[in-house]
């Protein structure tokens, strides 16, 4: 009983259980799901291919976003729903810098790293905008980010003057590497980008007080202020860091297809990112968080998405399935339900004790 309680009360339990459930389901339905092949891609390089690789590959952006979303959730007790729109902005900035005013450039107008850094700055500014509304004006995070959610894609289109730039392989072969493969390396590049982001995050959380400060602000703003923290600054910083994550995800997104479509790029990804945080067992009302659980949650969502694609569930029905998961998680984490379950458990323990005594 005690060990069971220990396992189920661990935060990693929910995402791991969900992952296990999906794995078992796929094993039963079709063990071929787990097969990984080495194939030669169009560029003549040998690369791994298979559902598992697809999950790791496509889940990268989500994992990166989950990092920032976890911090925002923990610090502000709310979520940023503008990440998809800001990805459109970040991607648009990258293409604008690379292409200049010519939508189909022969050569790149700037090095990719410069474009990426500018995009990082822009996305962090937009993050700061959201963060300032939340931290200083005390607007509900979802309402504050609703502004960018609504305006973001139009801003993205405006940055490129409503044209749709395309970076052809003739202009730059390197640009497609970020969303594809680097020659000679059989694993998709987004996987490496995600791993690097995760490692950096872990190092920051380990060697700085960011995690502690974020959690204390999320748990009790006033007492953390009395302890010398600046809650506004912490909240602002969480949103700025999310902006950075968004810029990285934006780079991967535009690199995947070497172009952008403002109205559909990273559509509804904010829902998946929030779901990743929830699936990681983190309270959506802020406070304590577990970063690894969130990241795992992101891959679980991609696992679910890929599984549903495999079974040819139509793409427009996917959100409905995800909604079921969200409803379940949100209801389970609601204080009323938690209290009830706790009481139920105590009652059961008591009656068992009685039975044992008599």
């Amino acid at each position: 009983m005690n060990t069971l309680k220990k396992i189920t009360s661990n935060q990693m339990f929910i995402p791991l259980a969900a992952l296990l459930l999906l794995i078992i389901f796929n094993l039963i339905m079709d063990p071929g799901f787990f097969k990984i092949n080495l194939v030669q891609n169009s560029a003549g390089n040998y690369v791994f291919s298979g559902y598992l690789i697809t999950i790791l590959d496509m889940g990268s952006e989500l994992a990166i976003l989950a990092i920032g979303m976890t911090l925002v959730t923990a610090a502000s007790g709310g979520q940023d729903i503008s990440v998809g729109a800001v990805i459109a902005i970040g991607g648009s900035v990258i293409l604008r810098v690379l292409c200049g005013t010519d939508p189909r450039p022969e050569v790149l107008k700037a090095p990719i790293i410069v474009a990426f850094l500018i995009s990082c700055v822009v996305c962090m500014i937009f993050g700061a905008f959201n963060g300032a509304l939340v931290a200083f004006f005390r607007i509900q995070p979802m309402v504050a980010t609703l502004i960018m959610y609504t305006a973001g894609r139009s801003i993205a289109a405006w940055i490129n003057n409503n044209t749709l730039p395309v970076i052809s392989p003739a202009a730059s072969e390197t640009f497609a590497y970020f969303g594809g493969f680097i020659p000679g390396i059989p694993i998709p590049t987004p996987v490496f980008i995600a791993i690097i982001c995760v490692i950096i995050t872990m190092l920051i959380l380990k060697f700085t007080n960011l995690g502690l400060y974020t959690q204390s602000v999320g748990i009790n703003e006033n007492s953390s202020r009395l302890n010398g923290l600046n809650p506004e600054f912490i909240k602002l910083m969480a949103f700025v860091l999310l902006g950075l994550c968004v810029a990285v995800a934006g780079l991967i997104k535009v690199s995947r297809i070497s172009t952008i479509n403002y109205s559909v790029i990273a559509k509804d990804i904010e829902m998946d990112a929030i779901l990743a945080v929830a699936l990681g067992g983190n309270a959506l009302s802020g406070g304590k968080f577990n970063m690894i659980a969130s990241i795992l949650g992101a891959y679980v969502i991609q696992f679910l998405t890929t599984t549903l694609y495999k079974f040819k569930v139509s793409a427009d029905a996917l959100p409905a399935y995800k909604a079921v998961v969200v409803i379940f998680l949100v209801v389970m984490s609601a204080p009323i339900v938690r209290d009830y379950l706790e009481q139920l458990r105590k009652k059961m323990a008591a009656s068992r004790k009685e039975a044992a005594e008599s």
């Binding site: 071929g32 194939v39 030669q40 891609n41 169009s42 560029a43 690369v47 291919s49 298979g50 559902y51 697809t54 496509m58 189909r104 500014i125 937009f126 700061a128 905008f129 300032a132 509304l133 200083f136 502004i147 305006a151 894609r153 139009s154 801003i155 993205a156 289109a157 405006w158 409503n162 044209t163 749709l164 395309v166 052809s168 594809g180 493969f181 998709p188 602002l236 997104k253 995947r256 297809i257 172009t259 479509n261 403002y262 109205s263 559909v264 790029i265 990273a266 559509k267 998405t305 890929t306 694609y309 495999k310 040819k312 139509s314 793409a315 427009d316």
Partner: protein, 361 residues
Amino acid sequence: MKRRVIASMLAAMMAVALTACGGQAAAPAPAEPAPAPAAEEPKAEEPKAEEPAPAPAAEEKTEEAAPAADAGELIRVGIINNDPNESGYRTANDADMKKMFCEENGYEAQFAYSLKNDEQIAAAQNFIQDEVDYLLLSAADTAGWDSVLQDAQAAGVKVILFDRTIDAPEDLYEASIVSDMAKEGQTAVDWLASQGLDEYNVIHLQGVMGSAAQQGRSGALDEKVAAEDNWNIVNQQTAEWNAEKAQQIVQSVIDSGDKFNVIYAENDDMAKGAVAALDAAGISHGVDKDVIVMGFDCNKWALEELLAGNWNYDGQCNPFQASYIDEIIKNGTPAEKVIIMDEKGFDAKTITQEDVDTYGI
């Protein structure tokens, strides 16, 4: 101090956001000083307009006929379109409309954009209250337009549909300038049939379900697959015009090991996403290769892919309706209400650079 810095930063950001919105809103609304007061008054009555009340609307019309005439010879048009960011098609379409309906050509145009039917209907009610002469409409959805078009008729506003048809009696609008999506699909499927493959194993990437383009382009293929034994659908899913979703769907088929030799994508973006998945798996595509790639809409970059032999077919969806509309407004209602525009299908084997420059959007 810190607060002040951040506050000023915030103000700057808001200014940026405003100009961003302004960049779209300001251009289409060349605020004519004369009609402005006239326009404001009905707007105050906006809530009333929510309930369809044709009678008071008609009264207003007679009362305020004089100021409207004073506004000058400009023909006032209210244009309701889908979001120009939606696709290259819509961007080209919107640019074409803005180019045609400007003051130099004798028009005073107001624009409203939405991908949602209810918002479009609300915009239409505003335009009717505003007493525009013509209401140009590209409806997000085919249903639900009857009552607002009746209001328009009662208020003497002439309605011209462009790009999309709606389910409403023909007498409610002057003309409808459309692409025949079913014909586009049929042209594409006929072309595919003429390729003479032994077996057609098709991955069918659909647009947003229920849209006219999706219905027309899916219809022809569905019919053919049902009729022929050697035509099979390997996977038929909606990728909602989205390249990333298309990439994932095709990737999923590749991972499953199912054999296919045709990608029938209902727009260019989805074809591009599909090709990204093919490239990653080393499946050759294009002219005389393993997989035939078909797209729609004739984006310039897509036609360039055709020219390079990476894709096989691209079906045109003509976005240039403005000149047709202009003709109707200036020359009167045509005898045939539904005007179908000329549309082509391009084969990678025969496409020329000239085609790319002329028809690319």
